[in-house]
């Protein structure tokens, strides 16, 4: 499914970009409160390098927060996190459901979470080896997307 969906989504995103995308540099304080709280709670050690506010068609707003070690977080317009990408480096895991972490530890020893994406129905977790695991919103394993 994702193999078909992903190009479609990309196409929509790019076509949107073509129609009118606005990128703005903003400060930490300009983020929605929920996003600020998420950063403070999970990423206290790091200093935020840059925050971009991307507006598409005046409606669809996305925030991209980058850290010095290239870790990236994406938030939606309400401040809910959508993606945390460690760029192949392990990411903090406190916000990830316990069940998912337990599963990875049990089935894939010595692997760390390097990236996690969240959408309405599922979590997609990439681990050190590059395998991508899919879980439902309750943290139950669905499949390995290989």
């Amino acid at each position: 499914m994702t193999r078909i969906l992903l190009p479609v989504i990309l196409l929509l995103v790019f076509s949107g970009a073509a129609r009118g995308q606005k990128v703005q540099k903003i400060n930490l304080n300009d983020l929605p409160e929920k996003a600020q709280a998420f950063i403070q709670k999970n990423f206290t050690k790091e200093k935020v390098r840059s925050i971009l506010k991307e507006t598409e068609d005046l409606l669809d707003i996305e925030y991209k927060v980058t850290f010095p070690d290239k870790l990236k977080i994406k938030f939606d317009k309400k401040g809910e996190w959508k993606e945390v990408d460690g760029q192949r480096q392990p990411i903090p895991t406190r916000f990830i459901p316990e069940k998912i972490l337990a599963y990875i530890q049990k089935r894939f020893p010595n692997n760390e979470v390097v990236k996690i994406e969240k959408d309405r129905k599922s979590f997609e977790v990439e681990i050190s080896s590059g395998l991508e695991l899919e879980f439902d919103t309750n943290g139950n394993f669905i499949k390995i997307d290989s």
Binding site: R88, F108, P109, N110, N111, S128, S129, G130, L131, S146
Partner: protein, 422 residues
């Protein structure tokens, strides 16, 4: 000769089935191969997960550079290809000393130290050509089985279903005017056959009644013509007897009278034919052909003598039958008159009677006759003006009255022979 219904349907079914089986075979082949590859690919993907998991537990796995018993190898790489790429390869297999098809999965992963590696996993897969050959054999067998089954079903079921139709056709083939006017009931539950039987019977009844009315009309017409003809001839006789006429007039009237007499004969013959066909000679007795022949030859002796003919009557054994004596007399008389009329000067006539057949033969200057046409009404030789053309038709009608009798015409040793058989 057309094809029978059975062969007709079978022939078309054989072609259509061939097409259907071929199309089905293509679909089946595609589906099965798709399913097989899907299964094999799933197996390979699962193995990939297991291998990568194991590499994180036991780093020696990372040094598997050759395909071993596990049928995978891991090579360091610079450009990591994480997606799964499947291919089909021919790889030597020791077991049967042949190149065999393998399904190969190429993918990549990161080692615990973050280095990218490429991973190849392979497994033996289905031999497509062997599969195709086997499938073809199986389908040829299936096709033949279907055709044979169809043929058998056609033979037994259709044969049975179409039996009423066959009977109807047979009845129609045997049907003759004035003969057996009832067709056999079809005894079928098939509506079409019941309707067909009903309609055919109706048609036959209609034809028969028309035919009967036509026969009666001819009989009535002939009958009604007799009186005016007799009166006319009488009046002409009176005119001639009065003697008030000159010679030329008398000759004219004489010729008129002869023409009228011929008409009377014609009329009599027609009437006779109609009466025979309308079954008006019902009284029967045992008739001896020898006796009848002697009687008729006695009556015609003068003409035979006058024409200088030799008659040989040979009664080897008597031919007897239970029939109407008058009809049999007319039969013999007509055949004999024919033999006299078409004979040559100094000719011969032979009557041979034996137990089961009798024949009347005559010499003639005429070539052999067409046996199909001679019994037709008003069929006569072109040079013949005095004949009514009805003599042999009357003979045939009489023969038809008695189903046990057969009449045939042959030409042998310069003689025309009419033979009646029992």
């Amino acid at each position: 000769m057309g094809k029978s219904l059975k062969t007709y349907t079978l022939k078309h079914l054989v072609y259509i089935l061939l097409l259907v089986v071929a199309v089905w075979a293509g679909l089946f082949y595609a589906f099965i191969l798709d399913e097989v590859y899907d299964n094999v690919d799933d197996g390979l993907k699962n193995q990939k997960i297991n291998i990568i998991r194991q590499a994180y537990i036991d780093s020696t796995v990372l040094h598997t550079r050759e395909f071993g018993i596990n049928q995978f190898r891991i090579l360091p790489t610079d450009s990591l290809q994480k997606a799964n790429i499947f291919s089909r390869q021919m790889i030597y297999m020791e077991y049967d000393d042949e190149m065999e098809p393998y399904r190969v999965l190429r993918t990549g992963f990161y080692a615990p130290d973050g280095q990218p590696y490429s991973l190849e996993i392979r497994t033996s897969t289905v031999e497509e050509d062997d599969f195709l050959i086997n499938l073809t054999i199986a389908l040829v067998v299936l096709y033949l089985l279907i055709v044979i089954t169809l043929f058998l079903v056609n033979s037994f079921v259709l044969e049975r279903a179409l039996k009423p139709l066959k009977n109807l056709i047979k009845d129609l083939q045997n049907y003759k005017f004035g003969g057996n006017t009832k067709i056999k009931p079809v005894n079928s539950t098939v509506t079409e056959f019941i309707i067909l039987e009903e309609k055919i019977q109706e048609m036959i009844d209609r034809n028969e009644s028309l035919f009967l009315r036509q026969k009666q009309f001819i009989e009535n017409a002939s009958h009604e013509l007799q009186t005016p003809l007799a009166i006319t001839i009488n009046k002409l006789d009176l005119l001639l007897e009065n003697g008030d006429l000159n010679e030329a007039q008398s000759t004219e009237i004489g010729e008129t009278k002869r023409a009228l007499l011929r008409m009377v004969n014609l009329n009599k013959s027609l009437l006779m034919l109609s009466r025979i066909e309308n079954r008006q000679f019902e009284e029967k007795e045992t008739v001896s052909i020898c006796a009848v022949a002697e009687e008729i030859t006695g009556q015609l002796e003068d003409i035979i003598h006058f024409k200088n003919l030799t008659l040989q009557l040979e009664c080897r054994e008597d031919f007897t039958l239970y029939a109407n004596r008058n009809l049999i007399s007319i039969l013999v008389s007509n055949l004999l008159r024919n033999a006299i009329r078409y004979n040559t000067g100094q000719g011969k006539i032979g009557i041979i009677i034996s137990r089961n057949e009798f024949s009347i033969s005559n010499t003639s200057s005429l070539a052999p006759l067409n046996p199909v046409l001679i019994f037709e009404r008003f069929y006569k030789h072109s040079s013949d003006h005095n004949s009514s053309g009805l003599g042999l038709s009357i003979v045939e009608s009489i023969i038809n009255t008695y189903p046990e009798l057969r009449l045939e015409y042959t030409y042998q040793h310069g003689r025309h022979i009419f033979t009646v058989r029992k």
